[in-house]
């Protein structure tokens, strides 16, 4: 469905409820899956009843902990996004973001220093900036790099590993991967990449034929949110809408991550994962499943630092913040499904190459 025709179905928002059919199916499926996994795995054990309850308790605790930890960042990101919606106009984005693809991707990768956000906060901000006509590569590079390239995360990595290859490797490789993936998306057209509702307030320079419609839609949008009066309260309402929009994905992602954590034993992964190649993938899988916030994942990685080589740690520290269960689901609220797949697979491939190369060539 996501990869349907390259032609834009004329103004999808006109077709009423159509738009939310898509993501909702995914969420429903994930929910059912998560619950089934939890239930099934608990019933199999001998002390079935007791364990089912205990495991469910653990599941709920981990789910709520992920939600409570991420909610402040998501609401902060949404509020920033709401204020961008009201106070930033398209001209400003065009003026400050370089148009040249190389520079644009580089700017995106470094933007995290200006907006220090983690992987939950970055998504609503990026979505809103896309609505304001942010070029694709900038947004994608920002989305992938910002969770690492910001002062808080760099400091926590320093606190955990000190000055050394892990710290600068993490920063350099994150920049590199985000920059490369951003550059790849320079070739794509926003309409093929983004969900219609992300583009709804955009006039996207690639869709000139859609221009008037978007403008008209823009006006409707403003009207519905309170006529010509724009201001703080309107930004807050938009923040609320954003939070609820993204919150669905966050909650589905947190449930899935919690289910995986309650069910998949860490030791299975870790005992399987030795050797210069497999270990990189194991660490990436672990990062994906754990879905820990990037501000603290350095401390988790530290726990594995004796059992794993630096190259494998890069798998955890570079790939994890870019994509994990939680953020992949958040991406579904911004991008088309196929794009989300690319956004998982491209960093995966690049980080795997970097990690394996490091293990084989540099050692240690």
């Amino acid at each position: 469905m996501g990869q349907a025709s390259p032609l834009p179905q004329a103004a999808p928002e006109r077709t009423g409820t159509r738009w939310y059919g898509r993501p909702r199916w995914g969420i429903a499926a994930f929910l059912v899956f998560a619950l089934m996994v939890v239930v099934a795995s608990s019933i199999n054990t001998p002390q079935a009843r007791f364990f089912a309850a205990e495991r469910f308790q653990t599941f709920v605790t981990i789910f709520l902990s992920l939600f409570i930890e991420a909610a402040p960042f998501l609401i902060a990101g949404s509020i920033v996004s709401g204020f961008i919606a009201v106070y930033v106009d398209q001209g400003m984005v065009e003026r400050f973001i370089p148009n040249q693809p190389l520079l644009a991707a580089l700017a995106g990768a470094g933007l995290g220093f200006i907006f220090p956000v983690c992987e939950c906060g970055v998504v609503p901000v990026t979505r809103r900036l896309y609505g304001k006509g942010l070029p694709l590569p900038v947004g994608i590079a920002f989305l992938l790099a910002a969770p690492v390239i910001n002062p808080v995360v760099i400091f926590s990595t320093y606190a955990a590993f000190g000055w050394g290859p892990v710290l600068w490797g993490r920063v350099v490789f994150s920049m590199l991967v985000a920059f490369s993936v951003g550059l790849i998306f320079h070739l794509a057209r926003p309409r093929e990449i983004l969900l219609p509702e992300t583009l709804a307030v955009s006039d996207g320079r690639d869709d000139s034929d859609n221009h008037e419609q978007s403008d008209e839609y823009d006006r409707n949008h403003d009207h519905d949110h309170g006529g010509a009066r724009r201001g703080v309260w309107q930004a807050l309402v938009m923040a609320g809408d954003d939070f609820l929009d993204m919150g669905r994905y966050l909650i589905a992602g947190a449930m899935l991550a919690a289910a995986m954590q309650t069910v998949v034993p860490q030791s299975t992964l870790l005992t399987v994962g030795q050797g210069p190649i497999i270990s990189v993938f194991v660490m990436m899988a672990l990062a994906y499943i754990l879905s820990v916030c990037s501000t603290v994942d350095a401390f988790i990685a530290l726990a594995f630092s004796n059992a794993f080589t630096t190259g494998s740690l890069f798998g955890f520290l570079v790939f994890g913040p870019m994509v994990d269960i939680k953020s992949s689901l958040l991406f579904l609220g911004v991008f088309r499904r196929r794009t989300v797949l690319y956004l998982i697979l491209l960093p995966l491939a690049l980080v795997a190459v970097i990690g394996v190369f490091w293990n084989v060539q540099v050692g240690v």
């Binding site: 738009w19 409707n220 807050l236 939070f243 609820l244 309650t262 820990v292 916030c293 004796n306």
Partner: protein
């Protein structure tokens, strides 16, 4: 979802006023839910103490944002005439509302409890000897006074090669975990170490054997919180010494169930 628009409730939900009211209430609800977790002291079952202020900020943010819908509600009267135009990406369906209320629903249905024995089933338990404990960097803040050391402090100290002196008396609190791996010990006194939130919890534990005359394995229940006072005996094989309990008493679950590095 096509049924949504067909049914009465589906049509009701598409009214801007209903949307605004439900969204506002939901955001307020989330804020209040979080607030009750803070006031009931159960917040640290989920996140590290260090991030308490973030939760408070989230409560404020959610409530301010939730209240802002009140304005929209008042103005919704004017736009009620054209509900169809409003049906763009921000409209939530019933299942959307349900999904977002899941934290509240699950939080109220399942009484709050910190991670316990069940969470150990698929986690590594770091008994001092294991290499993968917390780093030397964290250990620099090690508590030197032996009676004030936590399980984590002891495990870190042993990990750094320190050996207990004769005079060292440990006084530690943790929950009972029957670990098959440690044969000399009767149980492992365990705590979870949390860096950020319960999702990143790691378990640390000290093997404990019980001195004669004290209740032994039979009397202890797995998951029970106990305070152990005693000295370390040199251990063979495994390089973490076994703690010989001279006093063993049940204690209520601490307010801070996790340890922080």
């Amino acid at each position: 979802m096509t049924q949504d628009s067909a049914t009465i409730t589906g049509r009701l939900l598409r009214l801007p006023k209903v949307q605004a009211a439900l969204k506002g209430l939901l955001l307020l609800g989330l804020g209040i839910f979080l607030f009750t977790r803070i006031t009931s002291g159960t917040l640290n079952y989920y996140i590290s103490q260090r991030f308490d202020w973030l939760a408070i900020a989230a409560v404020l943010g959610l409530i301010v944002v939730g209240l802002s819908y009140r304005r929209l509600l008042q103005e919704a009267d004017d736009t009620l005439a054209a509900p169809d135009d409003h049906d763009h990406s921000h409209a939530l369906s019933w299942s959307g509302f349900l999904l977002i209320s899941l934290p509240i629903i699950l939080g109220l249905l399942v009484p709050p409890r910190p991670l316990g024995v069940a969470a150990l089933q698929n986690r590594e338990l770091s008994i001092g000897g294991l290499d993968s404990v917390l780093p030397a960097a964290v250990g620099s803040s090690l508590v030197q006074e032996s009676s004030e050391r936590t399980i984590l402090d002891w495990v870190l100290a042993f990990h750094q090669g320190e050996r207990p002196a004769e005079t060292d008396t440990a006084d530690v609190v943790g929950f009972v975990y029957f670990d098959d791996a440690a044969d000399e010990a009767e149980f492992t006194l365990t705590r979870f170490v949390v860096g950020c939130c319960a999702a990143d919890a790691m378990a640390v534990g000290l093997p404990v054997s019980v001195a004669a005359g004290l209740p032994s394995e039979g009397a202890l229940e797995e998951g029970e919180w106990v305070r152990v006072v005693g000295q370390f005996a040199a251990s063979t094989g495994n390089n973490i010494p076994v703690l010989v309990a001279e006093r063993l008493e049940a204690v209520p679950e601490p307010n801070q169930p996790y340890l922080y590095p």
